[in-house]
């Protein structure tokens, strides 16, 4: 509670200082709009309903990309952990695919899929893939050898061992990867829109930049940050719920 109050006071102090600095007239509103102006713009965007379609587009990209990246990352992690020889063959390629700056793929993806949702969902999925893949692989390989022996002794086959032992014990690590992926999904969606979006919060930032509306840019920042925090907290809640069922210790 104390710390919350302190961080709220800090925010208030920064905003007041910022407002005063802007009102003193030493900085052009074009360069740095006052917080009150940003709030006004934000309210205008919300009340007029102009913001909602963009928010919906960005969230759709984010969710679709996150889902695709999660399914692929989890699947690939499971596959390569079950077949270590495959892992050794594919590892350099997986790594290379992650080292390619994915935004640089944007123009290519737009050529392939055209402008719109698809290239951005693909970029987001590519970004979300890696944390899930790595954490799934790490988590599955960390299962206690003694417990594997127990399952061997109990005659559990591969699938059963995966479902009843490996995945449950890897769950906390996998969920940590998912949390990272969620944050990256928002970044992926917004920045993906910079490159190839027609709609969405990122695309709106580019549009605002082209008319030098810095107040709108800042208002969009606020929306994006709020969205990120909301999604992160939701993920944490989901994680706590799942872990309570599969509590580790």
């Amino acid at each position: 509670m104390r710390t919350r109050l302190a961080s709220a006071l800090l925010l208030a102090a920064v905003l007041i200082a910022w407002e005063a600095w802007c009102r003193s007239g030493r900085v052009s509103a074009l360069v740095l709009p006052a917080p009150s102006a940003v709030a006004g713009t934000l309210w205008g965007e919300l009340a007029s309903g102009r913001l909602w379609p963009h928010l919906r587009v960005t969230m759709t990209e984010m969710v679709l990309g996150l889902l695709a990246g999660t399914v692929l990352g989890l699947g690939a992690g499971i596959l390569l952990s079950e077949w270590p020889s495959l892992h050794r063959v594919l590892r350099p390629y997986v790594l290379a695919s992650q080292l390619v700056p994915k935004l640089a793929l944007g123009p290519l993806l737009i050529l392939w899929f055209g402008f719109g949702l698809t290239p951005i969902v693909v970029i987001t999925a590519l970004i979300c893939f890696f944390p899930l893949f790595e954490n799934t692989l790490t988590g599955l390989d960390q299962v206690e050898p003694a417990q594997r022996e127990l399952f061997r002794m109990l005659g559990a086959g591969r699938v059963r061992t995966l479902l009843r032992l490996k995945l449950p014990s890897a769950l906390p690590v996998i969920l940590a990867g998912f949390r990272v992926a969620i944050v990256l999904a928002l970044v992926g969606a917004v920045v993906g829109e910079f490159v190839g979006g027609r709609q969405g919060l990122g695309a709106s930032i580019i549009a605002a930049q082209s008319v030098m509306d810095s107040s709108l840019i800042l208002a969009l920042f606020v929306v994006i940050t709020a969205l990120g925090m909301a999604v992160y907290e939701a993920a944490r809640g989901l994680e706590a719920l799942i872990l309570r069922r599969y509590a580790r210790d």
Binding site: A146, E149, L150, M153, L154, G155, R160, R164, A247, R248
Partner: protein, 258 residues
């Protein structure tokens, strides 16, 4: 060696990859149906390795393991194992941990649950069936692991120091429970321990292992059933002393100098 024994180890040798010395260096052993054999030995002499060979978890480099006459090629089905560490699944309740051998095969039914609860009660854990392992003491966890090994009513039990984490009183109670269960079900057991009195109390025979070899294998000259009070009997003391003398005479404890 009786060829109709339940578990037969026949010239079994095993060396861990990269280890210059054999961890199990030629062991012959036979456990008849329903008999309880104890394996004594100092830390690091290869007891756990021998137990895993008997379980089929590792395959001998030389020699053979047979259960019910059939040579073992993989983990032996129908053998209950209690590992040295409890190896409970943290996300399951004590009851579900006990039911694991069943639930890996099929959906547990009401009679399975009842049997598991009875076993937990016999282990003195009747009230803790719904607890997760993290909320159990170390000794309670070992008892859950013991109940898990018993739930399928195996004909052969392999136990690796199952009572090492228990206080003397609980340990003696559980020794009696084990004897009772084995006698009523006709279960054979290979019981690894480094406690001489425990081996003398439980075993029909006691083997002493040192540096990968069985340096002694003899019958325990005590009657069955053994009342708990037998522990204070001079005859019991004599058995313990002779086992102690054999262990003292065996290879050194530290390192595995041949």
């Amino acid at each position: 060696m009786p060829s109709d024994a339940h578990l037969i180890l026949d010239g079994v040798r095993y060396r861990f990859p990269g280890d210059p010395l054999e961890t199990v260096a030629g062991v012959d052993w036979a456990i008849p149906r329903g008999a309880i054999h104890c394996l004594l030995g100092r830390s690091g002499c290869g007891k756990t390795t021998l137990l895993k060979l008997a379980a089929g978890l590792i395959v001998p480099d030389e020699g053979r393991v047979r259960i019910d006459g059939k040579p073992l090629r993989g983990p032996a089905p129908g053998v209950g194992v209690v590992f040295q560490a409890p190896t409970l699944l943290a996300w399951l309740s004590a009851l579900d941990n006990v039911l694991l051998p069943v639930s890996l095969k099929r959906r547990p039914q009401a009679p399975d649950r009842a049997a598991a609860r009875d076993l937990l009660a016999a282990m003195g854990l009747g009230d803790l069936a719904e607890r997760r392992p993290a909320a159990l003491s170390g000794g309670q966890q070992s008892r859950v692991a013991m109940a898990r090994a018993l739930v399928t009513e195996p004909g052969l039990l392999l136990l690796d120091e199952p009572f090492a984490a228990l206080d003397a009183l609980t340990r003696e109670e559980l020794q009696d429970d084990l004897l009772r269960l084995c006698a009523s079900r006709g279960t054979a057991a290979l019981f690894v321990t480094h406690d001489i009195a425990e081996a003398a109390y439980l075993g029909d025979r006691v083997g002493v292992m040192a540096a990968g070899r069985l340096v002694h294998d003899g019958a325990v000259p005590l009657p069955r059933p053994r009342p708990p009070g037998i522990r204070y009997d001079p005859a019991f003391g004599a058995v313990c002393r002779s086992l102690r003398a054999i262990m003292d005479g065996a290879a050194p404890a530290i390192g595995r100098a041949a």
